[in-house]
């Protein structure tokens, strides 16, 4: 048989347990909208049985502590996909401004080719009209400018991506430092058997942010969490963080070095950093190369056609375009100064239009690259368009998947107000009942003490 004191003890334990549960519930409600918050649950178990005079009695409730409910695997999946999405977003937003250069807007290369072509056709019908001659020169200048501004737009987006590399590396270093500090804090709380919930939430939140900046790999070791870049360069090992560094490379762009000074630029994938490097080192250089080839080969073909004829003064045709050997697209310009220098004539007489067909043919014949200027440019438009649309499509589909994973994560770790309200009522009732137990035992104790006494306690 248990004593009244045992019952009193059980009642007090129950009060404490309900209080702890109420604390967890109120904390959950308070943090229901805190980003990264993981809901807490009070963990109860039965206390050991008491055996007295061969009678077995329950030992009451034991509060094992308050634990956060989290799913590490889901966190990892979300981190990975966030990296990929953030990379796709970076590519897509960097190229948004680039692709407007290739959109049909009247000052793009296609429009410029188009007006050069039609002005030559006009010249074919009116070879001696000076305004028609001038319009060919103007169309040539517009084409050169369209090449210049497209190439400059590409270079601008490349330098923007380069700046993004530097900024992102600085952000990564600041985050890894904070994560290392939290790791230290966490290992001491875990050692002292406290619930690491809040600190762990904060760390998960920072790791999540880190994954938007670059692709990472997260694992657990005896020292705490270990974070490396996707290719294995260390970022955080327990309480120690390793800074990435940047240095200007041979190509004039910032190279990313790991803590040991190894150049890991080409290995970085995912996140804003991966996206910016992809734009800067792969996509834009590819487009620039094609654009330069087009500008250079077209100008050469057009100049050859120009040199095959005679201008309005009867002089042999001079080169129409000036193209530098490097950076043809950004440096191309019109060498002629007057419409009368356009080599219209094939026989030297002013009225001949015989060479106009050669000039027009430079626009429609295949370049050494194997395709006509228009088709070469059309390919570029396709490349830019599909790069942007692939990146956006990837971002959209990853967004769907992340939403799904976040929902799963919320269903494990998120705060449900209805659930908390129900728990509030549940623990309120339990607390009230436990309080009633204590007051009943107190009343019984009074009665017991009063037994055989004239004095009332």
């Amino acid at each position: 048989m248990g004593s009244l004191t045992t019952s009193l003890l059980i009642g007090v334990q129950a009060l404490e347990a309900s209080q702890a549960a109420l604390t967890a519930t109120s904390n959950n409600i308070a943090n229901s909208n805190t980003p990264g918050y993981t809901r807490e649950e009070a963990q109860f178990s039965e206390s050991p049985l008491t055996v007295q005079n061969s009678a077995v009695a329950g030992g009451g409730v034991m509060l094992n502590g308050i634990e956060s409910v989290r799913d590490e695997l889901l966190n990892l999946q979300i981190q990975q996909q966030t990296s990929q999405q953030s990379s796709a977003d970076t590519v897509s937003s960097s190229l948004q401004s680039v692709q407007t250069l290739f959109a049909s807007n009247g000052s793009d290369i296609a429009s410029a080719f188009s007006s050069l072509s039609s002005s030559l056709a006009a010249l074919s019908a009116n070879p001696t009209d000076s305004s028609t001659q001038q319009s060919v020169l103007t169309a040539g200048q517009n084409l050169a400018q369209a090449f210049n501004s497209t190439a400059n737009g590409l270079t601008t987006s490349q330098s923007a991506a380069d700046q993004q590399v530097t900024q992102t590396v600085a952000q990564i270093n600041s985050l890894t430092k904070q994560i290392a500090q939290l790791n230290t804090q966490l290992s001491s709380t875990v050692m002292s058997q406290q619930n690491g919930g809040t600190v762990e939430d904060q760390r998960d939140q920072l790791v999540q942010q880190l994954s938007t900046l670059t692709g990472i790999s997260v694992s657990q070791s005896s020292d705490g969490e270990v974070i490396t870049t996707a290719n294995g360069s260390p970022l955080v090992m327990g309480g120690q963080s390793y800074n990435l560094q940047t240095t200007t490379g041979a190509n004039g762009f910032q190279q990313v070095l790991d803590a040991n000074g190894n150049n890991i630029t080409s290995n970085i994938q995912g996140g804003q950093l991966g996206g910016a490097i992809q734009v800067r080192d792969q996509i834009v250089p590819g487009l620039l190369t094609s654009l330069n080839t087009l500008a250079s080969q077209f100008a050469t073909a057009f100049n050859t056609a120009q040199k095959a004829g005679f201008d309005s003064t009867g002089a042999a045709g001079q080169a129409f375009f000036t193209v530098p050997a490097n950076g043809a697209a950004s440096g191309i310009s019109v060498a002629l100064t007057s419409g009368s220098q356009v080599a219209i004539s094939s026989d030297g007489s002013a009225g001949s239009n015989g060479n106009v067909a050669n000039l027009s043919a430079a626009l429609t014949n295949a370049l050494p690259s194997g395709q006509t200027p228009a088709n070469t440019y059309a390919n570029l438009v396709y490349q830019v368009g599909s790069a942007v649309s692939n990146a956006s499509a990837q971002s959209t589909s990853l967004g769907q998947s992340i939403l799904q994973l976040t929902n799963q994560q919320s269903s494990v770790s998120g705060v449900n107000i209805d659930e908390e309200t129900t728990n509030l009522i549940r623990y309120q009732t339990a607390y009230e009942a436990a309080a009633r137990v204590v007051s009943t035992i107190q009343a019984l104790s009074t009665v017991t003490l009063d037994m055989g006494s004239t004095q009332s306690y």
Binding site: L95, Q99, F102, A103, S104, A110, S111, S114, S117, S118, S119, L120, A121, A122, S124, A125, N126, P127, T128, D129, S345, D347, S349, A350, G351, S352, N353, G354, V356, A357, S360, L363, T364, A374, N375, Y377, A378, N379, V381, Y382, V384, G385, S386, V388, S389, S392, L403, N407, Q408, S411, V412, G414, V415, N416, I417, D418, E419, T421, T422, I425
Partner: protein, 300 residues
């Protein structure tokens, strides 16, 4: 399984989705284009490059046809009036050769034929918009000028070149024959034949008048052949104009197919997107504020 009660991310994603499609359709309806930037449809954007160039070219080819047609027509009518003049000169020569004319009459006939020679030279010097059309490619030089040392009294200053004008991607039409071929050809020299008739009439020798008239008569057939060239060119240009009109329609249809918007479809999609958007908003407004707390009475 525990249900995720936090509907905010889902609702936000749904709202963004429906707003984004609302924007897309709104832009389509207001611009009439389904492709504004290359990423909207990379393949169509690439194909539009060729279409843009082709459209401008076809437009210019049509203008070329119009402008060349006027040149060719002027040349044709110049030659037809040359043929008329030559026919008249032949009848004057026939009249001079019948042996009944007094010497004064013959001098008058000779003056008439000389007048015809002057008018034929004037036709040979026809210019359209400041360009001589019978000077070969030397269109800025007067083709025939007086030259006493030449048998016809005129010398040719043009050249033997000709121009072909682009009226299609792979079609150019030759638009002129040099005057040296039409008027002062070695075997059928119109101007010399006329000059020969003038001097025969002046000489009064019936047989030489007769042979000069015969020689002149054969040049009429020759000039008519050259005239044929211009009427052929004219009919080719007219045919090409029809082709170009069809090309314009084809190209603009292609452009509409590639980047255009079907107004009816776009308007329907816009109104569907509007409905979807307001439904999403209404659902969000209904669902978001609801918790168990709405149904519990406040603690007394």
């Amino acid at each position: 399984m525990r249900v995720n009660s936090n509907m905010v991310p889902n609702i936000l994603a749904d709202l963004q989705q429906s707003q984004s499609s609302l924007n897309t359709y709104l832009q389509e309806v207001s611009t009439g284009k389904s492709v504004a930037v290359p990423s909207d449809n990379p393949i169509a954007s690439a194909q539009m490059v060729q279409n843009t160039i082709e459209t401008a070219n076809v437009d210019q080819y049509s203008q070329n046809v119009t402008s060349v047609l006027s040149t060719v027509q002027s040349a044709g009518s110049a030659l037809s009036s040359v043929v008329n003049s030559l026919t008249r000169a032949v009848s004057l020569g026939t009249e001079g050769a019948n042996g009944t004319n007094s010497s004064a009459n013959l001098q008058t006939l000779a003056q008439d034929v000389q007048g015809i020679l002057t008018s034929v030279v004037a036709q040979a010097n026809t210019s359209v918009e400041g360009n001589y059309i019978f000077g070969g490619t030397a269109s800025t030089t007067t083709p025939y000028t007086a030259d006493a040392s030449s048998p016809s009294g005129y010398t040719y200053n043009g050249n033997s070149g000709s121009n072909s004008v682009a009226v299609g991607d792979s079609l150019s039409v030759q638009v002129n024959i040099p005057g040296s071929q039409i008027f002062s050809n070695a075997s059928n020299n119109v101007l010399t034949s006329l000059a020969n008739l003038v001097s025969a009439l002046q000489s009064g020798n019936s047989s030489s008048i007769s042979s000069a008239t015969t020689a002149l008569n054969s040049t009429i057939g020759y000039v008519s052949q050259q005239q044929e060239f211009y009427s052929n060119a004219e009919s080719r240009l007219n045919a090409q104009e029809t082709v170009l009109q069809q090309d314009t329609v084809t190209l603009s249809t292609q452009a509409t197919n590639l980047i255009g918007v079907n107004e009816a479809t776009a308007a329907t999609e816009l109104s569907q997107a509007e409905t979807a958007n307001s439904a999403t908003l209404a659902a969000a407004a209904k669902v978001l504020p609801t918790t168990l707390l709405n149904y519990l009475s406040a603690p007394s």
